[in-house]
Amino acid sequence: VFTKTTLGPLWIGLTILLGSCSGHSLTHEELKSDYRAAASLSAESEQFLQHLPGHPYNTHAVDGHWAYLRKQGTELRQELEGVRPEAADAKRLSELRETLSELNGLLAIAPSSLTASDTLESLRVLRRRLEEGMPQ
């Protein structure tokens, strides 16, 4: 029944169908993944700020990269709006939202206006909070 003329379109159709499938209810694993993403963003921002003093970049590169990190944080926070977690994860989700909002608050300030030591300490605190709160 399946000749090469029917198998090809079938396979490509299946490819497109499967590719477009993406469910969206927040499972435990997805919450964990979001925690990891937030901790990673916090760590990357921290690493970048630590790197800047010894390695001068022009303003465009610094502000541009910082803006992309900020956008990443904003999108991650937006993705958590309106999602329904598993009952046992409700508190953790709420903590993640709160921590992400704080992180986005820091990322909203241009790096040149940040007081490096204070910001680094705040980022460290946020990252630790995310790592400790990460679901098992």
């Binding site: 090469k4 003329t5 198998l7 090809g8 379109p9 396979w11 490509i12 299946l14 490819t15 499967l18 590719g19 499938c21 993406s22 694993e29 997805e30 993944s33 990891r36 993403a37 901790a39 990673s40 760590a43 990357e44 921290e46 690493q47 970048f48 790197h51 390695h55 001068p56 970049y57 022009n58 303003t59 465009h60 590169a61 502000d63 541009g64 990269h65 992309y68 990190l69 990443q72």
Partner: protein, 411 residues
């Protein structure tokens, strides 16, 4: 000198194919997640693309058949047409992602608004292609892409663990949590796929015909395919090292092109960042051109219409219209606000899923004595080609389920 410049086809094909937006971010992420462990997939991908690039170059020269003429003859019209539509859709998505990537890099260099840059790139790049001969396009983008070498320098300066890197040439099965195991497989397949993207062989075989390669050039075919691919491969390894050295220890999963770009200049700062950015621009720009031109090549080769960048546009109206159209539609897709990395992630996996439909016809024709005469595949070529084809087919079957199960590679 002419022969030396001929190598630029291989360099542009491989750099635009290997080191495009997707590969730059994807490989850095692989290094950040699994250290050097996925080095073997880069090696396997490099060997596979060398084998198939050489094969399609040989078929183009001996049979005077570019890839999509081979696809049509081998798969028949209906399945060939489906492959054509899927390949050009893939080219369109990849081209849109690369245009977005170009705008991001120029934005980081100049601070100009990204959307404005996207429009500028979407108009400027096709205009440049329109007025340039094929050879000048490949020379300009192939040679400028070599600036990416600064990524390799940075990787070496950051003192990678060479012993661990060497050990990663052989895949090791570690006990991993289920999700990490799936991620490992996803990234292995993604790296392999990004190195074998269909548009590379479409572009390479068409380029061989554009350049008027003759039978006497066949000895260089292997060298051109190998040198370009090895160069692209070394840069990919450098990206893996940077991901491993800079991001893995801090549990950072870099999700931005700017993260990978800054990683390339990490030990030095702004001066080197400019070179890294120019190298990335050349590679991503080369990829955008390859995908758009491939769109034109594919359609015309399939329907046997006149094609060629060196033909006057009036003599190859459909060809010119298709590649210009690819750029235009890609620009609108990019302007729609879809993130370039989302697009490219999808195109890498979708490309893997339909890859057997491109590589099977090449293998079959290159092994057909009636068509290839004394330039037919040797037994060794056939066995190696078959082994890689089986890997391609397995990866194609696994690619979509893995994309769904890992939420497109989210740790």
């Amino acid at each position: 000198m002419k022969k030396l410049l001929g190598i630029t086809l291989g360099i542009m094909t491989a750099l635009g194919g290997f080191v495009d937006l997707g590969q730059i971010v994807f490989t850095t992420q692989a290094g950040a997640l699994f250290g050097y462990q996925l080095l073997w997939s880069i090696v396997v991908g490099t060997l596979a693309i060398i084998v198939y690039m050489e094969m399609c170059g040989r078929v183009a020269v001996v049979a005077r058949k570019p890839v999509f003429a081979v696809v049509r003859d081998c798969l028949g019209f209906p399945l060939g047409l489906v492959t054509l539509i899927a390949s050009n859709l893939l080219n369109l998505l990849t081209c849109a992602a690369e245009l977005g990537g170009l705008a991001i890099v120029i934005h980081l260099l100049t601070g100009w608004p990204e959307k404005l840059l996207l429009v500028g790139v979407g108009i400027g790049l096709p205009s440049l292609v329109y007025v340039s001969k094929f050879q000048w396009i490949e020379r300009t983008f192939g040679l400028s892409g070599l600036l990416m070498a600064v990524f390799a320098v940075s990787a070496v300066v950051l003192h990678p663990d060479w012993k661990a890197l060497g050990a990663a040439l052989i895949p090791h099965i570690h006990s991993m949590r289920r999700h990490d195991g799936l991620l490992y497989a996803y990234f292995a397949i993604g790296i392999f796929s990004a190195m074998l993207m269909e548009y590379e062989v479409h572009f390479y075989s068409s380029g061989a015909i554009e350049e008027g390669w003759k039978i006497k050039d066949l000895t260089e075919n292997f060298m051109v395919a190998s040198l370009g691919s090895v160069l692209g491969s070394l840069l990919t390894v450098a990206l893996l090292i940077l991901g491993c050295v800079l991001f893995l220890p801090h549990h950072i999963f870099p999700e931005q092109l700017s993260s990978s770009l800054i990683a390339g200049a990490w030990p030095y700062g702004q001066r080197v960042l400019v070179f890294a950015a120019l190298g990335v621009l050349a590679c991503i720009g080369g990829a955008a051109i390859e995908t758009a031109l491939s769109g034109g090549y594919n359609v015309c080769q399939f329907f046997n219409w006149p094609w060629g960048k060196n033909l006057p546009p009036k003599s190859a109206k459909v060809y010119t219209g298709t590649w210009v159209g690819t750029f235009v539609v890609a620009l609108f897709v990019a302007l729609s606000g879809v993130r370039p990395l989302q697009l490219v992630n999808f195109s890498i996996i979708f490309g893997m899923a339909i890859m057997p439909l491109t590589y099977y016809p090449i293998l079959r024709v290159a092994g057909d004595r009636k068509i290839m005469g004394r330039y037919v595949n040797s037994k060794f070529d056939t066995v190696v080609g078959l082994i890689f084809f089986v890997l391609i087919a397995l990866a194609a079957v696994a690619s979509l389920p893995l994309m769904i199960l890992t939420h497109a590679g989210q740790p």
